[in-house]
C-alpha cells in the first residue's frame, strides 16, 4: 500500500509543475492585461500605464515572471489578487467552503438518486420502467445547466413558491462564517430558522449541479449491474433462497460499484466546471464565479492560484478513489 502511495505521489509532483506552466502560459497567452481591462474606454496616460504594469511586475519578460511565481509558490505564496489586493489563498479559503458544500450536496443527490435509478432500471431491464428511467437519465445528461437552473427557479421558486430564488440563506440572517459551510454555521449560530433557510437555499442548486452526475451514475450503475446480475454467484445466491433485495443490494451492487466509483472520481472535475454556471445562476458565492471573474479581469495571480488549487483537489480526489477501490474490492487490495 505504501509503495503504491509513493508511486502515485511520484507522479503528482511533475503533474503539479505541468499545471503551473499551463495555468501561467494560458492566461498570459490571452490578449489584454489587467490594467487595460480595468480602464476600458477610459483614457490612458502612457506613464500611468507603465507605472501600473511595473508595480504589478508585469513589465518583466514572461520567463522571469514565471520564475518569480514559481519561487513564491515554493514558499507557499500563491500571490495577491491584482483586483482586490487580497492574498489569493485567503480569497480561495473564504469562497471554497461554499463550493464544497454545494458540490457535496449535489454529489449526495446524484448518488442517492443515480444509484437507485440505475438499480431499478437494471432489475426491470427492458420494461417501461427501464426505458423511462434511462430516457430521463439521457435527458438529464443533455440538459444545459443554465436553462435547467432558470426553469427550476421559475417553476419551483416563483410559480410554486417552494424554495427561495438564489443566495445561500435569507438575507435577514447575518451568519458569521466559522467553518464557511452554511449548514454547519447556522447550527452553531443557534439562530432559529437559519438552518432551515440554508437548507432551502441549497435544494435547487444541488439538484441543478447534481443532474449530470446523476444521469452518468444511473447509466453506469445500470450497465454494471446488468453485467453482475448475469454472474454465476448471483444465480447461486438466488438458489440459496436469499431475499431478492439482499441479492441485489449486497451481492450484486457491491460488485457493480467498482466502475461507479471510478465515474464518481471523474465527476469531480465535471462538478467544478458545472459549479461555474450553477454559482452564477444561484448567486452562490463560490470559487467557480471567482475564477471566471478573474479570467475576465486578467487577474493573473487569481487565475494561476485558483487553477492550481482546483487541480490539486481533483488529483487528491482521484487518489482517494484509487484507495477506495481497495476498500470496496478486497481482490485489488490483495493484488497490491
Amino acid at each position: 500500500m505504501i509503495q503504491f502511495l509513493l508511486k502515485r505521489l511520484g507522479v503528482v509532483i511533475p503533474t503539479f509543475l505541468g499545471i503551473t506552466v499551463l495555468a501561467f502560459a494560458l492566461i498570459h497567452v490571452i490578449p489584454g492585461d489587467p490594467v487595460l481591462v480595468m480602464l476600458g474606454e477610459r483614457n490612458i496616460d502612457p506613464t500611468y500605464y507603465r507605472e501600473a504594469m511595473h508595480r504589478l511586475g508585469l513589465d518583466l519578460p514572461l520567463w522571469q515572471q514565471y520564475l518569480h511565481y514559481l519561487g513564491n509558490l515554493l514558499q507557499g505564496d500563491l500571490g495577491t489578487s491584482i483586483k482586490t489586493n487580497i492574498p489569493v489563498l485567503q480569497e480561495f479559503l473564504a469562497l471554497f467552503p461554499a463550493t464544497l458544500e454545494l458540490s457535496l450536496a449535489a454529489m449526495g443527490f446524484a448518488l442517492v438518486f443515480g444509484l437507485a435509478a440505475g438499480i431499478v432500471a437494471a432489475v426491470k431491464r427492458g420494461t417501461v420502467v427501464d426505458h423511462t428511467v434511462m430516457g430521463a437519465a439521457l435527458t438529464g445528461y443533455s440538459m444545459p445547466i443554465f436553462w435547467w437552473g432558470l426553469i427550476l427557479i421559475m417553476v419551483v421558486s416563483v410559480h410554486l413558491g417552494l424554495t427561495p430564488v438564489s443566495g445561500r440563506i435569507d438575507i435577514e440572517y447575518d451568519i458569521a462564517p466559522i467553518t464557511g459551510l452554511m449548514l454547519i454555521d447556522t447550527l452553531i449560530s443557534g439562530e432559529p430558522g437559519a438552518f432551515v433557510s440554508a437548507l432551502e437555499h441549497l435544494i435547487l442548486p444541488a439538484i441543478v449541479l447534481g443532474t449530470i452526475p446523476l444521469a452518468v451514475i444511473a447509466r453506469m450503475t445500470r450497465s454494471a449491474m446488468l453485467e453482475v446480475l448475469r454472474e454465476d454467484y448471483i444465480r447461486t445466491a438466488r438458489a440459496k433462497g436469499l431475499s431478492r433485495s439482499r441479492v441485489i443490494l449486497k451481492h450484486a451492487l457491491r460488485n457493480a460499484l467498482m466502475p461507479v466509483v471510478t465515474v464518481i472520481g471523474l465527476q469531480v472535475g465535471t462538478m467544478l466546471a458545472g459549479a461555474v454556471l450553477t454559482e452564477t445562476i444561484f448567486s452562490w458565492p463560490g470559487i467557480g464565479k471567482w475564477l471566471i471573474d478573474a479570467i475576465g479581469a486578467r487577474d493573473y495571480p487569481v487565475v494561476q492560484g485558483g487553477i492550481l488549487l482546483i487541480a490539486s483537489m481533483i488529483i487528491l480526489v482521484n487518489l482517494l478513489v484509487d484507495l477506495l477501490y481497495g476498500v470496496i474490492n478486497p481482490r485489488i487490495r490483495h493484488a497490491r
Binding site: R42, N43, P164, E172, D174, S197, P285, K289
Partner: protein
C-alpha cells in the same frame, strides 16, 4: 418499486420545506439586487459603477455632490465656495458638525475638518505620500480627469476652510469634485491604519461620513450597511438598513424581485421589460441613458479623410432598424455627440435623412469606387451598446446597399481599445458613458485634438472645432460655454467624424413599495432620500 429509506427521508425533507419561502427583510430595510461584487471600498482606486455604488454612494460624501437624478451639483461636505476671477483658486467653506462613522474597527475622536480634505487629495495627487508608500495603489480616474497634474496645491486655511490652487483653468473642476473618486476619507482613520501598519484596510474597511455605515461584505453574496444615525443630512436618511444582494444574472434578479426577495434591481434584460411593466407589484421608471454608442471613422486613413465618404456612410445607416433590433426598442436615436440630458445639447441639429441614392452619389462625387474596409465590433456588452456584433452586421448590410464591402473584425476587449487608440481601425463601434455631467467630458474627451491617440477614436483634430472647445473649457459662465458648445456641435454634424447611433434607455425595475428613487444619469445607484412604503 421499493423505495430506499434515503428516498423517504429526502422526500419528507422536501415536503417539510414546501411551506417555507424566503421573505424580504421587514421594517425599513431596503434590499438592492446588484449586478456584481465590488473589487474594494476605496472609490479612488476604481472606475466602475459596481464599485462606486458600494462605497462612494453609501459610505462617503464629497465636497460637492450631484443633485439626485441630475448632473447639476449641490453643496456636500463644503457648504459654499468661492472662485477667484482667474479661475485658478477655489476656496471651500466646510460643513461643521459632520461626524465620521463609528464602527468596531474605528472610533473617531474628532469631527470632519480641513485635515481630512487635505489628506484625501494629497493622497490622490502625490505619489510619494506616506499613505501611498504603505498601501501602493493607482488612482486611474484621477489621472484620467487630469486632476493629479492640474492641482498645484491643497491647503488648509483654517480648520473649516480649504483652498485648491490649479495650474490651468478647469471649468469642470467642481463637477469633478462631485465624482466618486473625490470621496472624502478620514485623516484620523488613515493615521490609525498607518500606525498599526494596516494601511491596506482602507480598501476593505471603509470609514466615511456618508448616509450608510459599512457593516460587512461577503464576496459574491451580500454587502450590509446600517443607517448612519449621526448623519448630517438626516432628512435624506429614510431607511434603517441597506443590503446589497449580489445577483450577477439579470433573469435571476428579476425572479428575486418578483418574489419579493429584493426591492430594487439593476440592468434588466430588455426581453423581460414588458412582463415587468405588466406586473402590478412592480414599477419600472426609465430615463434616457447618459451614454452614446457610435460608429467611428478613422479620419487619418483614406478614404475616410474625405468628408463626402463619411457623410455617405452616415446617411446609409438605418438607425431606426438598429434601435429596434439591437436595443429591443429600449434606446433613443442619437443625433449629437452628447445625450439630450447634457446641458449645452444643441436641439436644432437634425440627422441627415436615411438616403441610399444620395449616399451613392456622394461616394461617386468623392471618386471612391468598390470601397472595401474593416468595421470593428466590440467583443463585450456595454451600457451604450448591448450587442455590438448585431449592430455591426446591420451596418454591414446597410453599407452593402451602397456598394460598400465592410468586413467585421473583433478583438479581445483590452486589445480592441489599445489597437483602436493606436488608430489601427478603418471604422469601429465604440461609445461613452458620461462621467461628470460636463459637456467637455463629451466633446473634449472624445473629439478634442488633445484626445487623439486617446479616446478620440476618429483621430479627428479639426482646428475650428478644437478652438471652440478649448475656449469653452477656460470659461466659467455656463451661458457662454453653452454658446460655444452649440457651435461646436454644428461643426461636428457637418464633418461627421463619427455617426452617433443611440443612447440606451436606463430602466430601474423596483417594487411599488419603494418611494423617492431617482435614476442617476451618471449610472450610479443611490439610496439616500429613498424610503419604503
Amino acid at each position: 418499486m421499493r423505495r430506499t429509506p434515503s428516498f423517504l427521508v429526502l422526500a419528507a425533507a422536501v415536503a417539510a420545506l414546501a411551506t417555507g419561502s424566503a421573505v424580504a427583510a421587514s421594517g425599513k430595510t431596503l434590499i438592492f439586487c446588484s449586478e456584481g461584487s465590488p473589487a474594494g471600498f476605496d472609490p479612488a482606486r476604481y472606475t466602475t459603477g459596481t464599485d462606486f455604488d458600494a462605497s462612494a454612494e453609501t459610505v462617503f460624501n464629497r465636497l460637492t455632490e450631484f443633485v439626485r437624478g441630475e448632473t447639476a451639483i449641490r453643496p456636500g461636505l463644503a457648504e459654499k465656495w468661492a472662485v477667484t476671477p482667474d479661475g485658478l483658486n477655489y476656496t471651500f467653506t466646510l460643513r461643521r458638525g459632520v461626524k465620521f462613522h463609528t464602527t468596531p474597527y474605528f472610533k473617531p475622536t474628532r469631527e470632519f475638518n480641513a485635515d481630512d480634505v487635505v489628506f484625501t487629495f494629497q493622497r490622490l495627487i502625490d505619489k510619494n505620500h506616506p499613505f501611498n508608500k504603505a498601501a501602493p495603489a493607482q488612482y486611474p480616474y484621477v489621472t484620467d480627469m487630469g486632476m493629479d497634474t492640474n492641482i498645484a496645491a491643497v491647503e488648509k486655511v483654517d480648520p473649516y476652510t480649504v483652498r485648491f490652487k490649479l495650474k490651468a483653468v478647469d471649468a469642470a473642476f467642481l463637477q469633478n469634485l462631485a465624482m466618486s473618486f473625490s470621496s472624502i476619507q478620514s485623516a484620523e482613520y488613515a493615521s490609525q491604519l498607518l500606525k498599526s501598519n494596516k494601511a491596506g484596510l482602507i480598501n476593505t474597511q471603509p470609514i466615511g461620513t456618508g448616509p450608510f455605515v459599512f457593516k460587512s461584505y461577503q464576496k459574491d453574496a451580500v454587502i450590509r450597511f446600517d443607517a448612519n444615525s449621526d448623519y448630517w443630512n438626516k432628512k435624506e436618511l429614510l431607511l434603517d438598513k441597506l443590503i446589497f444582494a449580489i445577483t450577477p444574472d439579470a433573469s435571476v434578479r428579476y425572479q428575486k424581485l418578483q418574489k419579493g426577495e429584493c426591492h430594487v434591481m439593476t440592468y434588466p434584460r430588455p426581453a423581460d421589460l414588458k412582463a415587468m411593466q405588466a406586473n402590478p407589484k412592480l414599477q419600472v421608471p426609465q430615463q434616457a441613458g447618459f451614454n452614446l454608442g457610435w460608429v467611428s471613422y478613422n479620419t487619418k486613413r483614406k478614404p475616410f479623410d474625405k468628408v463626402e465618404v463619411r457623410q455617405a456612410l452616415d446617411m446609409a445607416i438605418d438607425k431606426k432598424a438598429i434601435i429596434q433590433a439591437v436595443y429591443a426598442g429600449a434606446g433613443q436615436l442619437a443625433t449629437n455627440p452628447m445625450p439630450p440630458t447634457q446641458w449645452s445639447y444643441n436641439k436644432s441639429l437634425k440627422d441627415a435623412p436615411y438616403d441610399v441614392n444620395k449616399a451613392k452619389a456622394l461616394l461617386k462625387k468623392a471618386g471612391v469606387e468598390n470601397l472595401s474596409f474593416t468595421l470593428w465590433a466590440m467583443p463585450v456588452q456595454r451600457p451604450y451598446n448591448p450587442n455590438a456584433k448585431l449592430m455591426a452586421e446591420m451596418i454591414q448590410a446597410d453599407w452593402a446597399k451602397i456598394g460598400v464591402n465592410a468586413k467585421i473584425v473583433t478583438y479581445e476587449w483590452g486589445e480592441y481599445i489599445k489597437r483602436a487608440k493606436a488608430g489601427e481601425d478603418d471604422t469601429m463601434l465604440i461609445g461613452w458613458s458620461g462621467d461628470n455631467g460636463d459637456p467637455d467630458n463629451w466633446l473634449g474627451v472624445n473629439l478634442g485634438c488633445s484626445a487623439v491617440g486617446g479616446n478620440n477614436y476618429a483621430q479627428w483634430c479639426y482646428k475650428e472645432f478644437d478652438d471652440l472647445i478649448v475656449k469653452a473649457r477656460a470659461l466659467s459662465s455656463q451661458a457662454e460655454r453653452t454658446k460655444l458648445y452649440e457651435q461646436a456641435q454644428v461643426i461636428f454634424k457637418r464633418e461627421v467624424p463619427f455617426t452617433p447611433i443611440a443612447h440606451s434607455t436606463v430602466y430601474m425595475p423596483m417594487s411599488k413599495q419603494v418611494l423617492g428613487y431617482k435614476i442617476s444619469p451618471l449610472a450610479l445607484h443611490s439610496f439616500y432620500g429613498v424610503r419604503l412604503k
